[in-house]
Amino acid sequence: MQVETENMVKVFSRPQSLTDAKSTYCPGCHHGILTRIIGKTLDELEIAERAVCIAPVGCSVFAYSWYRSDAIQVPHGRASAVATGVKRADPNLIVFAYQGDGDFASIGTAESIHAANRGENITVIFVNNQVYGMTGGEMAPTTLVDQKTTTTPDGRDPALFGYPIRFSEMIAQLDAPVYITRQALFDTRRILDAEKAIKKAFENQVNGKGYSLVEVLSTCPTNWRMSPIASNKHIADVVTEVFPLGDLVDRR
C-alpha cells in the first residue's frame, strides 16, 4: 500500500553527485553505504566537479562508475601514489583514493605510508573488512586471529602469519598527517559519526590542510559467511575490540 506524499516533503534521496548506476556490491556490503556518504559529502561541499576518484583493484574496482566526477582506475596498491601524481599535477583537484585492505595495507604498504609521510593534501578512504573480497575470501593483513579464510582454512595462526595490522595506528606515528580516524557503519549512530568524519577528511583537503585518512570497518557478508545483520553485529561486538573506533590524529 502506497501512502500519499501530497502533504509530505522528501527528506532523503540519492545524492546528486552519484550516478544512477546500479550497485555491483553484494547484498548488505558496507561499500554501498560508504559510497552514499562520499556522494553526500561531494554534494554538501559542492566539489563533485573538481573531484577525481582514484579507483583501486578489488570489489571497489568499479568505484569509477559511482560518481559524477572524473576517475582513474589504477594498479593494485598504487592509489596513494597515483593520487600524489594527480594532486601535484593540479592541486585544485579534490583527489580521493578509495582502497580495500589488500590495496592499502598489503601490496600498497609503501605507497600508503609514503603519501602520508609526505603529507600529500589528499583524502584516503581505507575500507577494512578483514578479508580479500573480490578474489574469493583470502586472508588480509587485517584478518583477525583464528578467523577462517580461504588461505587460513583452519583460522589465522599468528605463529605462521602474524597478527591483524593496525595500519591507522602506524600512520598516526608520522608527523605529517592531519586527520586519522577509524569509523564503522554498523548502526545509525556509527553511520552519522562516519558521515561527520568523512566530511572532515574532505574539508581538510579543500582547505589545504594536508593528509587525511578515514579507515572504515566494513562487512563482507559473502566471505564472512554471515548474514548482513549478523555481519553488523560481528563488527560491533568483535572487530571493534581489535580495531578501536575513534580519532587517532586530529591536527586541523
Binding site: 582514484i54 560518481y67 582513474i72 601514489a81 597515483v82 599535477a89 593540479d90 609503501a110 605507497e111
Partner: protein
Amino acid sequence: MGKRVLLRGNEVIAEAAIRAGCQCYFAYPITPQAELLEHMARNMPRLGRTFVQAESEIGAISMVYGAASVGVRTMTSSSSPGISLKQEGISYLAGSNLPAVIVNVVRGGPGLGDIAPSQCDYFQATKGGGHGDYHMIVLSPSTVPEAAELTMLAFELADNYRTPVMILADGLLGQMMEPVELPEPIDPGTIPAKPWATTGAVGRDPNIVLSFDLDPEVLKKMNLDLQEKYRRIEAEEIRYEETLTEDADLVIAAHGTMARIAKTVVRKAREDGIKVGLFRPITVWPFPYEALRKLSERVPTVLTVEMSAGQMWEDVRLAVAERAKTPFYGEMGGVVPTPRDILSEVRKHAG
C-alpha cells in the same frame, strides 16, 4: 646558432625534458642516472614545476600515471632493475592510452648486474616487459646532442599518440660529456589539447581513465584500437640512419652508443680498403624492418654489434632472413667493445 655547453648525457636529457615542457618529474635514485634526478631536483622547483623523489620506482611510475591522467607532460627515469619494477605501470599507461616519457639508462644485468653500460634491455623495451599486447615507442640516441633532440621528440610523440615513450640510453651515454647546443624551450601553446584528461568534470561528462572491461568483446575492441594506433605509428614514425651503405660489402647494424663506436670502425675499415657501412635504427620500436630488408638485398653481410647476448640481432635476422649473412658480435656484463675489437670482427666476416 645558440650557445654550446659541455654537459653529461644524463643532465642533457633532464634539461631537454624541462625545455620540452615536462611539468612533473618523479623518480627514485639508481646508478648510473643519478645526475638526471639531481638536475631535476635542482631545477624543477625553481621553475614552479613538480619534483618528487618517490618511495620506489613503482611509486614513481604510479605518480607518472596520475600526472599523465591529468594531461600534464610527465617523466620518470631509472636504470634496468628499476625499469623492471615499472613494467606493470607501463602496461597500464599503454592500456589506458596515456602519454608519458620513461628514460632507461641501461646497465649490466641480469639481476643487480653492475653499474657499467649495456644494451641488454632491448627485449624488455621493444618486445614487452609488461604484460599484454602493447608497445612503447622506443628511441635510442647515440650521442649527447641526439639525446637532447630525441627527448624533445619523445614528449611530442607521447602526446600525439597518447602512448608511453621510452628513451633507451645506456650508462656510457649517461656519463659521457659532449658539447651540445640545447634546444629552445617549446611554446607551451603548442602542446596538444587533451579533452580526455581528468581535469575535473566542469561542464562535461566525467572522464574515466581505464584499461579494463570485464566484457571480452569490449576489451577486444580496446585492443584492436591499440593495435590500429601501433600500425599508424609504424607507418609514420620509423627513424633510422644509413652511413656509407650504398657500396658496402658489409654493413654493421648497431644502435645507441654502439652505433657511435661503429662509425669509427666504418672509417677505419674504409682506410684499410674494406667497404663497410652502418645501419643505425633510431627508433628500435617501431623497428625499420623494411629499410633493412631492402639493404640486405644488395649487401652480402649484416654484422650486428650490441652490448648484449644478441637482442636487436633477432630483429635484424627477422628483417634480413636468408637474404644476407647475419653474424653477431657482442659483449655482456658492462664490457664496452673497442673499435679494434669490432674491426677484427669486420675483417673476419668481410672476406
